[in-house]
């Protein structure tokens, strides 16, 4: 097991390097730092001195890969690639364009992101599984058909509609919760409840339909027929046998997103004014703050790789027939 984990972590390394090279190419080779400076300072009416100053302030004045002018190890170390990309492996993200420390911002903003993302994950999973169970219990009836139609209809509605509609109905018409904002501690619940409900509603259509097919597939198995032949009630078969076995693919499939919960949701956070990592990213995109976007890409990829690893581990825990080698 331990050997497997170490091997997988080593396997993750080239992927992270690949991600880094891709983002580096996107940010520095496709566009030179000069282009970026001109973009930030305004395309017209910009002097070469201003560009140079902008680059020096942010450390973009070094060569890309190879600094021939430096001494010894400095040939590699005093380059943009080393300063901006390699240091990320040591979780040194540097500073944003507005001068703030990115690592500190991330630590501060993780809490609000999790406060929304974790309830969405847990409740969403619970709601989708319950709804799918309901449909399966009444399978091949009009209720089932209506439920599937409802799922397809809900899938076809834009996520923006759920957000805008929810804010309008709950906050503006009913005055139940504030439209947006965030507070520390228990008062956060007031701000978090609407985004959570909206995200759960927006996601339930596709996941409930997906889970329904998993449940139905499980129903065709031989052990279900055996259980029925033993004279077990339909409810007992559903909850004791089908549910337990179908939960394995559902839960292991959900594990992959757990680490990514830290990243928060871009849309929800931007709309509801939650000061999490999602809105941080959106703000960085709008302000064209490349340092922040680069850091978020790196963290996101690292978390995704952790998620894949967790998925593999959860398979072994859920299904004793699978051994990791």
């Amino acid at each position: 097991m331990l050997a497997y984990l170490i091997r997988r972590l080593l396997y993750a390394l080239p992927i992270l390097i690949g991600v880094n090279v891709i983002t580096f190419t996107l940010f520095f080779v496709v566009n030179t730092p000069d282009d970026m400076a001109r973009m930030q300072l305004g395309v017209k009416r910009v002097t070469p001195e201003a560009i140079e100053k902008w680059k020096v302030e942010r450390g973009y004045d070094k060569p890309l890969f190879w600094n021939a002018g430096a001494e010894g190890a400095g040939k590699v170390a005093e380059t943009i690639f080393f300063a901006k990309s390699v240091k990320m492996f040591a979780l040194d993200f540097g500073r944003a364009d507005d001068g703030r420390d990115i690592a500190r911002e991330i630590r501060l903003r993780m809490g609000p992101s999790l406060a929304v993302a974790v309830p969405v994950f847990v409740l969403g999973l619970f709601a989708a599984i319950s709804f799918a169970l309901l449909l399966v219990y009444f399978r091949a009836s009009y209720l089932d058909f209506a439920g599937v139609v409802l799922c397809v209809a809900m899938m076809s509605i834009s996520g923006l509609f759920y957000i805008i509609g929810g804010q309008w109905l709950v906050s503006k018409i009913w005055h139940l919760v504030p439209i947006s904002g965030y507070a520390e501690g228990l008062t956060a619940a007031k701000f978090v409840i609407l985004p959570v409900i909206v995200s759960v509603l927006a996601g339930i259509g596709s996941s409930a339909r997906w889970y329904r097919t998993i449940f139905l597939e499980e129903y065709t198995r031989d052990y279900v027929r055996t259980a029925r032949a033993k004279g077990l009630s339909e409810r007992f078969v559903l909850f004791r046998h089908v549910l337990r076995n179908a939960l394995i693919p559902i839960l292991t499939g959900a594990v992959v997103v757990i680490p990514a919960l830290f990243m928060g949701s871009l849309l929800i956070e931007a709309f509801f004014g939650i000061p999490g990592l999602g809105s941080y990213t959106i703000d960085a995109i709008n302000a064209q703050d490349f340092a922040v976007v680069r850091a978020m890409v790196f963290i996101g990829s690292a978390l995704y790789i952790v998620g894949l690893l967790l998925t593999d581990i959860s398979y072994t825990l859920a299904d004793p027939r699978i051994r990791l080698q």
Binding site: G18, V152, A153, S156, S158, I164, Q167, L266, V297, Y304
Partner: protein, 443 residues
């Protein structure tokens, strides 16, 4: 008049040609014909297909671009690039008001100071102008036009029905009843809208007084292009790499797997955001590449399609790799190899046709997600050019309107309803296609 062929038009026409060519090819191959017949006999499938064809027709009209010739001088053309749809909807496009007005209203939505002292809702410049001062006739006029429109819709439908007679005779087992019933509903909805649009703003006007109906119709092309071109752009790479990885194995497989795992591990939105930001810098620093603003917007649209394609080809590639791994070990492929058929030929002749159903299903399944993604991305500011009319930009400009008192709901509602109909039709159609083509689904 000078015809303008934007790059997205070229690709759109190419896509239609591929679709038609594929249709002709499929009608000659027995098992594909059977699968498509299954789609055609499915009632939901036919209804959804009819709706989609209507959407494609609008997008097609909107893809025939031209630049108007300016009067007087020799060989000078207007800067704006118009489409055949614009020409059809000249009335809607040019009859702009000052600001918001409700659907079918005769008066503006906001009060203004009229001639000196009194503050009141001013009359709209164009909507209801034919009524003159006889405002009492407003409702009867609407009712009158409604009935006229219904009649017109019915006549148009009858023409379609008669024109469709050879089709029904050629393929009598398909669910034509449902298709023509859907068409009837479309005609009955479009007729009154067309009649009313001549005198009013059927879906109201937006902040700068543009007709919302015009904006929604223009958005259809953008949505369809994003949904289809993205798949078209990524398809060759996904199919080739997927088949190659599965068939060749060894280090080639490792490299391709590494490639898609790496791309997959970057959070999609962030990769899109980063790429779009970069694209924006490139486009902004090279204004000399584009003759008109339409061309620039078009370049950004295509760039977005390409970027979405790069982030979305991995799923299809992995599926194809898995399927090829299975097919590679089958006897007929082994036999072909034993007879000395080259690897590329085996891929093209023996494996590709047998994974086409996966490609087919992926194309239709991806479409609806991409249309929805466009709206979200444009909303975040990393989607299409702000000057391109799309569902996303419509929602983006309308987002603060619900906070107004009384609220402005029509542009949001129009964008969401049109998008819902398009995506719902695509989802339903995708389900039917998947059921018909997926060999694992046994009814």
């Amino acid at each position: 008049m000078k015809f303008v062929l934007l790059w997205s038009d070229v690709l759109f026409f190419l896509l239609l040609a591929v679709a038609i060519g594929g249709g002709i090819w499929a009608s000659r191959v027995e098992h594909l014909r059977l699968s498509w017949r299954k789609v055609g006999t499915h009632r939901v499938g036919m209804a959804a297909a009819t709706l989609l064809v209507a959407f494609v027709a609008v997008a097609l009209l909107d893809s025939l671009h031209y630049r108007e010739r300016l009067p007087g001088e020799q060989d000078t053309y207007a800067v704006e690039v118009r489409s055949a749809l614009d020409a059809l909807l000249t009335g809607l496009r040019t009859r702009t008001e000052k600001t918001y007005s409700a659907p079918l209203a005769t008066h503006s939505f906001a009060k203004e100071t009229l001639d000196g002292e009194s503050r009141d809702f001013p009359r709209l410049k164009h909507a209801g102008a034919h009524l003159g001062s006889d405002l009492a006739a407003h409702e009867t006029d609407i009712a009158h036009k409604l009935v006229q429109g219904l009649g017109m819709g019915l006549v148009v439908w009858l023409v379609f029905w008669l024109a469709g007679a050879p089709l029904r005779r050629a393929a009598p087992h398909l669910a034509w009843t449902v298709a023509f019933a859907t068409l009837l509903m479309l005609c009955l909805a479009a007729g009154p809208v067309a009649m009313l649009a001549q005198g009013y703003h059927v879906l109201g006007t937006d902040k700068v007084g543009q007709d919302v109906l015009y904006l929604t119709l223009k958005s259809i092309r953008t949505g369809l292009l994003i949904g289809t071109l993205t798949t078209l752009i990524m398809l060759p790479a996904a199919v080739f790499l997927g088949l190659l990885a599965g068939y060749a194995g060894g280090w080639i497989d490792d490299v391709i797997q590494y490639l898609y795992t790496t791309l997959n591990s970057i959070p999609g939105v962030l990769l899109i955001a980063a790429a779009v930001l970069m694209m924006q810098v490139v486009i902004d620093t090279h204004p000399e590449w584009f003759a008109t603003s339409a061309e620039r917007a078009d370049a950004r649209l295509l760039a977005l399609c390409a970027i979405l394609g790069i982030t979305s080809w991995t799923g299809l590639c992995r599926l194809l790799r898995g399927e090829t791994l299975k097919l590679r070990e089958l006897e007929y492929v082994q036999a072909a190899r034993a007879l000395g058929v080259s690897g590329l030929r085996i891929l093209a002749r023996h494996i590709l046709p047998n994974v086409m159903h996966i490609v087919m299903i992926a194309i239709v399944m991806d479409f609806s997600g991409l249309v929805l993604a466009e709206a979200v991305l444009s909303y975040v500011g990393i989607g299409v050019d702000p000057n391109t009319i799309s569902f996303g930009t419509m929602i983006n400009t309308a987002r603060m309107e619900l906070a107004r008192e009384p609220m402005v709901w029509w542009s949001l509602a129009a964008a969401f309803v049109f998008m819902f109909v398009l995506v719902l039709a695509a989802n339903l159609f995708a389900d039917v296609v998947r059921d018909a083509f997926d060999p694992r689904v046994v009814k």
